[in-house]
């Protein structure tokens, strides 16, 4: 497997590096894979007679002295693994954000040879690595070398996350995902304009509420979570004043999702309760919407049985569209609970809902979810067949992002099946150019890394003879 070769390279570097300090990047797709790679590297390095110290920045505040903490660890061992930096580089793991800690780490680059020795490995997800490249470009520029742990086709802990990644990302609305960097100036301009309009709007009016919703969505896509929460709060209050409680319920549900992604579980629980209370006196649809928010909180808190019970109840009462949504959420809970077989049955049930029959995009997306579950159940051939069927559908519908991501998904499965040439060709001809068109930079990085791993494997095979 490609990652095994990369593991060997990493250990070789850690044992071979001499004099001064080397800054090294280890990029990974999923935290579980990185965790295992670190553990394996530590065992191998210790067997080679060197010691490793680890620094977890997961709990660090935005002004943490990164070099200082690396230096403290370096006093214990010549090799330092630094991880958990995502929080300093990304908001909610999605949008790049400029923290003082990273800015100073960049500025302090020339201090590194004075204060550190040996090898410092920065373990970063692909998304965080890309943010690091733009936010700390001077330090990024002196990376001695990099190691890639790009895909989950190595079995073990990451395996089930592979399919889930595609499912969970699919379920996020556009405003809840990172805006492409190129769009940031435009969005910031729009936010400024809307803020000035909001300042002139009548408080508690429908117009003010709509403006606040738009501002909340823009701030969310810029990664400014606190600002987004505040605008949504204003919108919810404005809608209540205008008497539009169903819209207020929707906005409270969005706040619930944002709070969950910020891991503020208690606040999220309170928000979902507020949504439910608002919905009590409104139409049944709003109540179902609020219940979906409650179920989301239960899922995130690990109360899977309660979440499934609630979602089943909702699905039985809801109209087709909402029913499909409840079932999709239920399948996601089942996957999180480690029950892919039940999740598969639910997805297949969704396929049969009449409302979906006429919507090619919803149908294709649901099929993709089924494929992801099949992958987690090791049924690669069945997953491939489904994905090959829906690849042209996304293209015909003009959804370049889904088209590119589905191509990447297929390529990853092909790589797993040993069909390296097919995988490389699909990556080069479809996945990478298509993802580039829509600025899906993280997906591009994943596709690049997979292609690189396949090329390395081919070169290694050639070398072997």
């Amino acid at each position: 497997m490609q990652s095994l070769g990369e593991h060997e390279r990493l250990v070789r570097f850690l044992l071979g590096a001499s004099w001064g300090v080397h800054l090294v990047l280890a990029r990974y797709e999923h935290a579980g894979v990185a965790r295992r790679a670190r553990a394996a590297a530590i065992v191998a390095v210790r067997a080679g007679g060197r010691e490793v110290a680890q620094v977890d920045f997961g709990d660090a505040d935005d002004e943490v002295d990164i070099v200082g903490r690396l230096q403290a660890a370096n006093a214990r061992a010549p090799i330092v693994f630094a991880f958990g930096l995502e929080g300093l580089l990304l908001d909610l793991g999605v949008a790049p954000r400029a923290t003082d800690a990273i800015a100073r780490f960049n500025f302090d680059r020339d201090l590194l040879p004075e204060r550190l020795h040996g090898v410092v490995v920065l373990w970063l997800s692909y998304r965080a690595a890309r943010a690091f490249a733009s936010l700390a470009r001077d330090t990024f520029d002196v990376i001695s070398t990099s190691f890639d742990f790009p895909e989950l086709l190595v079995g073990g802990e990451g395996e089930s996350e592979f399919g889930r990644e595609f499912v969970s990302m699919d379920s996020l609305p556009e405003w809840a995902t990172r805006a492409p960097l190129a769009r940031v100036p435009e969005l910031e301009d729009r936010a400024r304009l809307l803020e000035s309009l909001y300042a002139d709007a009548t408080p508690g009016s429908a117009g003010a509420a709509e403006l606040a919703v738009s501002l909340g969505k823009i701030e969310s896509s810029l990664g400014h979570v606190d600002a987004a929460l505040e605008w949504f709060e204003r919108a919810a209050l404005d809608y209540v004043e205008t008497g539009d409680r169903p819209r207020a319920v929707d906005v409270r549900r969005w706040r619930t999702s944002l709070l969950l992604r910020a891991q503020q579980f208690e606040l999220a629980r309170a928000e979902s309760s507020a949504a439910l209370a608002l919905a009590e006196a409104t139409d049944p649809t709003s109540k179902i919407s609020a219940q979906l928010a409650v179920a989301e909180v239960k899922q995130q808190q690990g109360h899977y049985d309660e979440a499934i019970h609630l979602l089943r109840d909702v699905a039985n009462r809801a109209a087709p569209k909402l029913r499909a949504r409840a079932l999709t959420q239920m399948a996601s809970v089942m996957l999180a609970a480690g029950d892919p077989a039940s999740a598969l049955a639910v997805y297949e049930k969704i396929s049969s809902i009449e409302a979906l029959a006429g919507d090619a995009w919803d149908g294709a997306r649901n099929s993709k979810s089924i494929a992801a579950v099949l992958v987690s159940m090791q049924d690669f051939e069945a997953a491939l067949e489904i994905l090959r069927g829906i690849l042209p559908v996304f293209a015909e519908l003009g959804d370049e992002l889904e088209h590119g991501r589905t191509a990447l998904f297929i390529a990853a499965i092909l790589a797993r099946l040993g069909e390296a040439d097919q995988a490389k060709s699909l990556l080069r001809e479809t996945a990478i150019p298509t993802l580039a068109k829509v600025d899906a930079l993280d997906d591009q990085a994943r596709a690049d890394a997979l292609l690189a791993a396949l090329e390395r494997e081919a070169a290694a095979s050639k070398d072997r003879g």
Binding site: L111, P433, D448
Partner: protein, 450 residues
Amino acid sequence: MEESTRATTLSAAAFGPALNPLEIVRPGHEWYVDLDKLLPREHYGITARLDNLFRENRGPKQFIQIGLAGQGGTGKSTLVRQSMADLREIGLLPVYVNARESFDQVDIAFADVVLVLVEAVVRTLVERGETITLDPKLRERVRRWFAEEIVGESHSRALLGELETEASSSVGLPGIANLAARLKGTVRSNNEYRSEIRQRAARDPEELIDSANALLDGVHAALAERKQRICVVFDNLEKIVDRSQVDAAILRRSDDLGRLRCHVIYFLSPADVYAPTTTQASQVLRVVDVPGIPIRESPSEGPEVVQARALEAIRRLLDRRVALELLFADPAECVRAIARWSGGRLRDVIELARQACDFAELDQDADRVSVDHVDRAARKLGRLRLTVMTSEAWQRAVQIHASNDVANRPEDALMLRNALVLAYDGEPWWDVHPFLLHDPRFAAAQRGEA
């Protein structure tokens, strides 16, 4: 750190210091190569350009502010240090300010720049052991400026303590240097006194500059016999990620800073000149571009061209660090491949060589570096570096490759900041980095697909 040596094995080259991008090489170092003297001055180097500018401003009241615009990894700091050494003969006395040590990079004010400049001048003179005697009246004026006008009587004791008393009674520069160092430390970190100091210092910008000039004039008067003049070099300013800080504290205050009676060189990012946030550096400073190694001397030469003089410079540079004849199967061709892939960017030369040695060391069938290893190194580094590209940037890359020019656009700034568009000359023309040219997304953008 142990003493640096030339690598004579692949593993030493791959894992040792010789090709480690964090190793800093300054004039006098065993790996140092004076590229400024090796390469044609019409295409490379800054000494001749700086020499001209300083000679044009030799009058007693003539001083110049220069923006030195160069991408990271082009060896700006080393070039400037060599130039300053070369220009001592025309009477320049360099004073270096490391922006990293001197500013709070997330919060810089105009007053900080002036205070830091003054502190650097005084400190440098003290550190050099210059026997400069300032007029007692001037010394008292400087002391009052620091202790009373900037800090204010209420905070003077808390901030300056006994230093203040010591300085007033001191006969030389050390007391003033101590006062200035304390002030610099205060403005670098966020504390209760900083805003007050800034407020006081900036209350009357003219007075602030006049006070700084009084000290500079005193220093120049003392240096007159030696015909020396101060040139303050603000190094590492280009590493401040938030360029609006530099814009607000320096570029937009260039009229005030231009009244300082000493030469000043500010290190800038090319994005400050060609794709600025608000103020275009070339409108307010004399800008000197620091180009890469001129592997191409004209836009009409294609990306496959490597000029003989540049090739020889790169060969010498690498040969100082690694034993090329021992480690490279075909040194001439391998160095040519490294030069071509680097686009003339110094840091990429080093990194390509290191990665190629790494691949060769891994390769069980090879005992030396081949061109294939260099090509694989380039593909690997390219993938890492191109992660910041967006679809708009790919489209712009195609246009820049065709026009050899950059514009004031966000995509251009992105590529300039990340050294994915390179300057090729003293009067720059531009082209995209070879890493882009060989990426399938570039071809897709050329076909209009991205």
